[in-house]
Amino acid sequence: MSHSRMFRHLLLVAAASLTACGSRDREPVQAIDLNAVAFHVFSPDLGVHPSTSVLRDPNNPFTNVPIDELNNGTPEAPGDKWQIDLAAPAPAAFYAWATALTGAPGGENQYYTATKLQKIYTDGLVTTDELESVRELAIAAFSAQLVHFPQDYNRDAQGNPQWDYATGSLKAIRELGGVAPAGWVLVVDADGQERAVNF
């Protein structure tokens, strides 16, 4: 076989190969309507560290959103989770926080995930059948904050500690009628403020 003929054959193979990547089904990516996001209890540990089941939850509209987009930012342009937290309905905000929690485990993401569950419960944003499950999830999420991230603080834009998540979590567990993890109690400090302490 001559070399030029061989080369022609090579090109033919390449050309034939290219056809294999022809048209295929595609779906244009559209903006997510956050009002339409509904919450369902996909798993008994949804939004509870270290579970990442929220990434498999078909109701979660943020599974394809990079964690850093949700989580990271600057004082001038904070991560999207903060904007969503401020104005979006609780189910959408829950999925934003819970998704961020899977890629960036920490007290902040766990605490706000739990607060959104609490809001879904208190506002009754699920069917009656699921309401009790949501209450249990919220308790579990606050408990996870105490167990896994007990020392984490809410910080200002400059990174200075403002208030501890543990106290908020412990109070919320009590409000939800739950039982706090062993060793955690609320005490009153010298300023007369209640503070969670772990003995």
Binding site: V29, A31, N35, N64, Q83, G103
Partner: protein, 1034 residues
Amino acid sequence: VKRLIFLVVLSLAWLVTARLQAKSPSITLEQDAGGALLRVDGKPFMIKGVVWGYGPIGTNYSYSLWKQPRALILRVLDQQMPLLKAGGFNAIRVFDMPPPEWIQYIYEKYGIFTTVNDMLGRYGMTMNGVWIAHTDYADPEQRRFLLGEFEKMVLRYRSTPGVLMWLLGNENNYGLSWTGAGAENFPGEKDPERAAHLYSLMSEAAQLVKRHDRTRPVALVNGDLNYLDVIAKHKTGLDIFGTNQYRGRSVGAMYRDVKQKVGIPVLFTEFGADCFNNRTGKEDSLNQARFLHAQWREIYEESHGKGGAGTALGGFVFEWTDTWWKVGLSYGLSDHDTLGTWSHPPYYDYEDPSENNMQEEWWGITALTPSDSSGFYKPEPRTAFYMLRDIFGIDPYAQGTTVAGIRRAFAAIRPDEYQGAYLGSEAAQRPALRVSNLLLKLEMTASRGTNSTARGGDLRLDHTEAALVDFTLEPSSKLHARLSLSFVGNVAQNRLDPIFYENPTTYEGSVLGDARRTRHVPADIYQAEVKAQHRWFNLHGFYRVGHEGWDYEGDLFHLYPQAFYQEAVDIYRAPAPFGAVVSGRRAFEGFKLALGPQLYWGANPAVIGKYSRKLGPVTITAIHQEDLAEASSSALGSSAVTPEPVSRKSMLGVSAALGEAQLDVGGLFAAPQRVGDEYTRTEPSSGAGYGGSGYDVFREKVQWQDTLGAKVKLLVPTGRAAFYVQSAFKGLVADAGPDTSSTITGWSLKESGRGNQVNGLAGVAIGLGDLQIAPNVLYQRPLVGPNPRIDGVYDPVTQTYLTPVRARTTYSGVTPHEPFAVLDNRETAAGELLVTYDPTPATQFYQWDRFNREDAPFAANVDFVYRHQPTSRDSEVGVLDNGQRFAFGAAPPAHDTWDVTLNVAAAAFAPVRLFGSVFAGQNQALGDDPRLVTRYGGSLRIGVYDFLLATRLHLNDWGPYDYFRDYNLTYPLQWYGDASWGFLPALVGTSQTRFGVRGQYRRLDRYSDGWANKLMPGRSGSEFEITTYLHAAL
């Protein structure tokens, strides 16, 4: 005055010539009814020879006595040649050809002759700058080249007193079938057509000798009696049938066959026996002596005038001393391996005839002993040496000598009576489990920075103590195991380059934001290796020991690549490569199975099976790979290797020999697990696009055809214009492995192993004398291009959220990750021009240990690569200080890059050896930083006897670790220097005793790691380090 000078020169020339001619003995070859007789100065002369060589323990094939100081050469010759003379030897055959002055010295002082031997393409050659691994004796150009080189050798040596005869080749007939340079099982007569070309060339070489030197005979060096009929047709010019003979105790009817078919006398250019008993697993010098006893008796019986063939001229016993480097070639040089490497039933020290019963490192009739600081050692004669001394006392040509008389004389020489003279080598007395290597490292380090650096201005002192101990277990010749343990005392924490083997990073308990922490590991396994032979298979287990790949065994998609990166895995303390390969034998020949947690660096735990079968000119290869789990990122160490998604791959390849060309065609089926997975695709929009980004964004799913790949490669590896052309299509998820093979020459532009691409490559290496000009081009394009960065947009009024788009990553530790990505498969049109000047054909310029091996007075290459990259790529994975991995959210913008490298090797001024390089380039970071880096630098390595000086200077270049390029961290200047002295000349890649001092200096600016003057960004800083070290190898 001119006339006077002319007369003086003429007189001197006459005197020199006359002296040489006066010293050259008369060597004649006579044939009569009694057979054949070699005469030296008229007296019958039986060649009582040995294949002689010199190489201290710890060195390998690259060591050459003739490049050592003159004092050492004299010391060696004046110690060994008297020993040879006392042993009755009168001739030596030497593979590392001595310069003429030393042949003359050996002859005039000790009366020992030397043969001059040209390999004539046996181990390949570089012709016109093109490396040809397998000589084609039918090619007129190659024949002309080989004869031209041989003629130069003849002209150089023809006037040298002490040259006994000319030897042509070294069992070149085996080279027609064998694929490597080492010994394999004998192939027989598989290719008479190519053999005819080989032997006609040998005949032409012999006739060439006759034109220049009619005073010495010419001998072929054949492998056994193969192709005797073909040789008979091409015997013109050949005086002697030289043969490397390994038929055991007797060669049978060999003398008769040669006499009948070729009609010329016979010389054993190699013969003998190894002195290791495969059955007992112990050294057996008596057995070796018994074989040599029988072999020499037969030579005597078949010598002139005894009534037999009468054509035996003598022989060269293989070999003088053991060679400890033959198993491993570059590894285990200080260990005397007992593993059999080929099988040969006539030596019957086996339990099964298919066993590899031949131990390549144990053929000496003297044992190696440790050398002193200059590289001098005294070999210890074995039983065979003492026995041969008495055998050589028998004069085969004495008046009235008969076969019966020879038998009586030999019967009186009983090998076992000489056993007591050999006290046994150190190696012979060693236990099955022993300490085989010990390396102590003692270092003291001082370092300091300026105030603009994180290091600060205080001088810091620290020290490192470490040791490596090798234990070798050899309970039998079928099992070899080596365990290398590392022990670490204090580890210096003040080094400028803080990541090294003794100072590994710990990931345990790390959380995001942690600074890098090191852990102290007082004892650990540094390496481990097991080689075992079974009736049905060979096993090779390895832990942090490099291995060959299957690139040259039909693995067209590089699913099992070669894995040699000891320095890199040492820096990051990566547990790779780690696994085992089982190679089938007998009924399972062609099957291979590789399995392990990390078969090559970055591999997932996997099992890979291969089957190859040759059907005429076609070889069919099937390979299947099954990943068992995803590699733990902490087991990889460096960001240079990233865990890939678990997959399953199968390939089928057909390799066909089309005359000089080789055509490879193959298909790949990979990662069916990804079918149905969604990915994001972006395309330029005709309108405002998604969120005003200018792109339309889609979600698509991987389909079954995305798992398919195909490749075709045509290679014409020889000739003045060797070339290749190849093309491949690989579907979105049809990832292959990294290409670690070499095609034709040392090109750096290669196909990416990643899927999602169509590509084509072509290159040609044009030889112009010693110059090779080799252009190479590549074009590749991803089937689905990279994603740009589009930020998410939340609109609280409409409560809508535009999902952001990021550069893709396949790393499963990141959310979201996609089934494929565009990385080294980015759209590229690249050109490379490689120009090489290498006048020495035997040593390839592109071998990794070229500092050890390159013997050219001057060799150089320049390599220029330009990459046109019209689009960007997806996201690379980086490693944080604490070992956690993440994906950069973007990539540097599209930009062209280039690199140029100049390498120079020089051995013109022995004993000075020099290797230097200069580089420049403009490249991009691997992370997301858009700053383009234009960098320069060079290195120089000079060896003078046992002294070594190495230095490097880099300007505006990245630092030494992978993360420097990830984060685009550069230093304005980096300088390294190392001066050391050792007992032996420095060898790259081996453990040696060396004392030295090394220094490091670098300047820092705002782009540098460790720069700490954020208040004054224009101010630079500097750091230096000085380390004195003692590395003692025992």
